[in-house]
Amino acid sequence: MTDLRRLLSVLALAAGLAAVSATAHAQLTVQITRGVTTPIPVAVVPFGGAGPQPVDVPQVIGADLERSGRFQALPRASMLQKPTRAGDLDLAQWRLLKTDFVVIGRVLAEADHLAVEFELYNAVTGERLLGYSLPAQATTLRLVAHRAADMIYEKILGVPGAFATRIAYVSLEGSGAGRHWRLIVADADGENPKTIVESPEPIMSPAWSPDGSRLAYVSFEGRLSAVYVQSLAAGTRERVSARAGINGAPAWSPDGRRLALALSQPDGNVDVFVLELASHALTRITDDPAIDTEPCWAPDGKSIYFTSDRAGRPQIYRITIAPGERPKRVTFEGAYNARPRVSPDGTQLAIVTLDQGVYRIGAVDLASGRSRVLSSGRLDEGPSFAPNGQTIIFAAREGGRGVLATVAVDGSVTSRISSATGDVREPAWSPRESAP
């Protein structure tokens, strides 16, 4: 039985490796390009326990914390002791190393699963801040490590982490007629990339369902645009919109039952519509000869933000979803504001904005109407909020290559997420606790 289980886990690992190698060219690397000036020193001590450790859990936790730009993890070589239990922990030693917080833990083999036990100590006060046992399988160990990192991050900083999340993005390799597009889903740290769909024609605009189980996206396979909804677990998909002209910019309603879309009329005019997924009933939301596109639902599901050039240049508008409602303009500063994404708490928008002649990511405070520029590139686009609202991921150009980048909403931390080969673009951050 145990042998059979071991064999199965080896097979699962081998299968995992095959999947990873199949998309290895699109593997992402995350680099912090700017952190806070005084990151919090933390030590994540190697875990004990006799259980199998196919994943180095404390290494994943430490890397997550560092990747947030708000922590500095003590290198293992600098650790004077490597305690795995509270009884062996001498906090005075860690204070000498100028470490504010210490994480110790164990990976234990239970009857039919693993258990990740971890504890968080304040080295200065000696207080035990967290003590948890999280169930895991060999295949979910990495996810469980990300969850532990989320709990540690939230305990110390007071805001939830977003490590146990995923990102969807589009990779583009080759050039000219040899171009190849892939829609990929990876963990937020770039690990476990899996190709969801690939095509010799463009794929764009991935959007997560609110429960994280499905992706809507635009694919030009057949050389015409269509919107698809694909289940991540089953891999099955449905073509939900393939009308003549543009089928684009899918955005899920907060209840997951409807998609807002940009559709064109026979004369090419683009407006925002809402498609009821169960009945396929289509409701027009905007009606204007200008371009109305890039819809995004307010968290309460009662109104939609969108891009429109009805005033000449693209600006952000908001329309309440009810008969006879007229859109209200939201952005007034600058000649180009597009592609709104609402923060999870509904208080601000991430947008693409023209700033001193270049395209950057901006944030608009919805209460005051004030906007600020967050990114520093020249061709930044496609912002998407992390589910904790702390970070925005977006697409950028660097040395002619398409990369992803993140910026904290307070501007304090930036990172670059690049692929070894090809371009990556069109990032979409998953909701919290999306199904693995």
Binding site: S225, G245, G248, A262, G268, I291, P314, Y359
Partner: protein
């Protein structure tokens, strides 16, 4: 704005084609039914074309000119503009004439933008450009059923650079005939 532009285009085309009609004109070189005048005549502008085709002289020079116009299948646009520039009127006229002559011919108009700005907004801009070329071709006698538009936005650049020289090449509508036509 569009209406004014359309009128201007129609005038330009009428002038251009009027000038052509004085020379020995030959219809599009690519098909076997070339010696037969196209059966359109449904629009004013195309009528002007037809009047020149009754003579149907071989005229290699003019035929070569027509073929050269038909070989041009890309219409370029100014930044953030979907206006078909006057310099493309002869190219549009040649394709329109061919479509009017070959009613079974169906083509694709693929709109594209440069990489700047937001991806889905650019899809809408590319569609606007494809529609502008479509309207111009309709004025030349093509029918709605012959023309399919698609917009790739910024997804299919022909020039890979990231400067104005590359962007200018990428702001375009491609006229795509079925392979072999």
């Amino acid at each position: 704005m569009n209406r004014i532009y359309s009128l201007t285009l129609a005038l330009c085309l009428a002038l251009t084609l009027g000038a052509c009609a004085d020379k020995p004109a030959a219809p599009a070189a690519a098909t076997s039914s070339d010696s037969v005048a196209p059966s359109s005549g449904s629009t004013g502008a195309a009528g002007a074309v037809d009047s020149g085709q009754g003579r149907a002289l071989p005229g290699q020079g003019a035929q070569g000119a027509e073929a050269a116009l038909l070989a041009k299948t890309t219409i370029y646009f100014d930044f953030d503009s979907s206006e078909v520039k006057a310099e493309y009127a002869p190219v549009i006229a040649a394709h329109g004439k061919r479509l009017a002559a070959e009613r079974g011919l169906r083509i694709r108009l693929e709109g594209n933008t440069d990489e700047r700005g937001s991806a889905e907004y650019n899809v809408a801009l590319g569609e606007r450009r494809a529609q502008a070329v479509k309207r111009a071709l309709l004025l030349q006698g093509a029918t709605d059923g012959q023309l399919t538009t698609v917009s790739y936005g910024e997804e299919r650049p022909v020039a890979e650079g990231h400067d104005e020289a590359a962007w200018a090449q990428n702001r375009r509508v491609e006229i795509v005939y079925p392979s072999g036509r």
